[in-house]
Subunit: 370 residues, 2 copies
């Protein structure tokens, strides 16, 4: 298959432009170098070894994951310094302990005193310590203890005072940048998250605690504010692929997007003024419903077309206005979808087809599950 | 793991009640026996060997699949008489030919004269014939040639007159039953699809063509109309699991639903009157958005709770009204989600955990891809 054109692929197929992946990764590395912060790339978007190598510059160190299955997968393949950035799940403490005892540096995250109790109840062997990040909610409104609440400081102190547990850092995810439109708004959220985090670090310092700090999201790390240089780390992930959503937010240009779903025309439906394609939600995901004027995706080179609906293995495409010119879309011809949300689309594929300038260079196989 | 309770599972986890699976399968077999039609169960919902065995009563014969990957998977494991019920994709003709030459009975489907040309251009070896179903659109509005158009009859004739190709049957999917609410509406669509299909069979007979006929969808086959006894086959699939959507349509009762997603409480957010659970769209899919008063799923035993939003690995749950009583949902406690669409939810899981009366009895591993 290597050396063949993309048109040799059966569809639907997730295709990854390795040159764009490398460029996106390199730019983030350079941006972080310039800021003077450690980049800890997130693996959740792709969950592959090859892309992790690109994002870590081959070091296989200093990554963040969203599931314990990812943590184990990377650990099994020689990665280390892994942060499992997910509020410690009580059903997975033993598996976390095993990784902590096995790796040089496995790190967990928590946002509740009961999670600390779970760690106390499972002291690590061989003189090892639990490495713990405190999850702070700086306005994102998902996990984390509210930065402004006294509980945040008291939990940080409790962690740092517990035998066998080390407060490694303070972690905030600014997923609220996904509501931004344009760099100005991204900067505002990045600034707010950074300010709240740094204020919290000051509070910690005032009670004699020093540790690392990290914020992250692809929009904020694509357009960092100067104050982010005072953080220890950042942890974006999606940037290695980017997607239509990120272009709408303003994190990237359309040309930066490294992933596509190849699909073929499998039906002409003139009585409905529609085409059928062989990509349904099984190949694209349902993410992005109602978000784009072109429907569930952009159809590359055809801004006049809209992916209006999908079932498991079918997509219905119609013109945004006017009658469809079927002669332009013969049965069997290829169309290229630029996904709304690369994380969601990649998740649907058991293998990614990797190309350079349209020629296949390999396959990447992601890990799945929890 | 066998014999352990479901609470031993790490979450999120897709759990399958094997007794309900067997009961749902048995009822469909009995329903079809009573009607006197051949059941050709669809594999797309689960894509596992074990569930296929239950649905075929152990015969490993007479199934329908939605992807060629499924066809190959089942063929590799001793299944035969496989219908690939997807408008012949021009990129997969060679793979279809290989299956046709290898199995006793591999069947394809088409709805366009160009697809017939593709088959002519790839005659089968060893005196084999292509077994072809004509896809008819009887009002569903997706794939298929419109039952009322002269092109339908002329395509059927062209297939039956082509050397090396056999017109095996006429196939209609009544996916439009998914818009029904209640048995009366289901009956109306089932009747309409059946009538249109049987009328088309009469037209074929008038020009000297006889072949099989098949319609299907879980709603119509859960509540068949008498005239369906005049068909050769039916091809439902989802019924083996059922789901909340099917209960809303009226195909089943909530008690018939054989799948759940187990999830755990991982966060308390009193400032937002919310819980966080460890199931996001990665464990449930985004199917069903806006369809249920309880959000993306039913939370079993908690009709007062709503799954209001999900990100990749997090779900936000809040009361439909009033304040949340957190003492009822300790961190680490289990909640059980009844999915809106079992096909979409199952697709997100690399393994299904199978239980009988709450005790684990095994794991099923689905196939993926195309």
């Amino acid at each position: 298959m290597e050396g063949e054109p993309l048109s040799a692929l059966c569809t639907p197929a997730l295709v990854v432009d390795v040159d764009k992946v490398k460029r996106n990764a390199q730019r983030m590395i350079q941006r972080c170098n310039k800021l003077g912060v450690q980049l800890r790339p997130h693996m959740k978007t792709h969950k592959t070894l090859e892309c992790a190598d690109v994002m870590t510059g081959g070091s296989r160190r200093c990554i963040v994951v969203s599931t314990l299955a990812e943590a184990c997968f990377y650990a099994d393949h020689g990665f280390d310094d892994i942060l499992y950035a997910y509020s410690l799940p009580f059903d997975k403490v033993e598996r976390c302990a095993a990784l902590s005892e096995r790796l040089d540096l496995f790190q967990v995250l928590l946002d509740h005193p009961e999670a600390l109790e779970q760690l106390k109840n499972r002291p690590l062997r061989n003189g090892r310590q639990w490495h713990v990040w405190l999850k702070l909610d700086c306005g994102n409104g998902r996990a984390g203890v509210l930065h402004s609440e006294p509980e945040a400081l008291s939990l940080a102190r409790a962690v740092s005072l517990t035998d066998g547990v080390e407060l490694t850092g303070v972690y905030a995810h600014c997923g609220n940048t996904y509501n931004c439109r344009g760099v100005e708004q991204i900067h505002a959220v990045a600034q707010e998250t950074t300010t709240f985090t740094l204020q919290f670090m000051e509070k910690l310092k005032a009670v004699g605690i020093t540790c690392k700090s990290s914020i992250g999201s692809t929009p904020s790390c694509s357009h960092p504010v100067d104050d982010m240089s005072q953080l220890s780390e950042v942890h974006p992930g999606n940037y290695v692929f980017y997607d239509t959503q990120q272009s709408v937010i303003g994190s990237c240009c359309l040309e930066d997007i490294a992933v596509r779903v190849l699909t073929r025309v499998i039906g002409h439906c003139p009585h409905r003024n529609q085409l059928l394609i062989d990509c349904g939600w099984c190949g694209l995901s349902l993410d992005g419903a109602g978000k784009l004027p072109t429907g569930y995706a952009l159809i590359e080179g055809h801004p006049d077309l809209k992916l209006v609906s999908m079932t498991q293995e079918h997509g219905r495409v119609e013109p945004i206005s006017g009658p469809l010119d079927y002669s332009k879309y013969p049965l069997g011809s290829l169309l290229t979808l630029i996904p709304y949300h690369a994380c969601a689309t990649a998740m649907m594929h058991p293998v990614y087809y990797v190309h350079s300038e349209g020629r296949l260079v390999g396959k990447w196989t992601p890990t799945r599950g929890w």
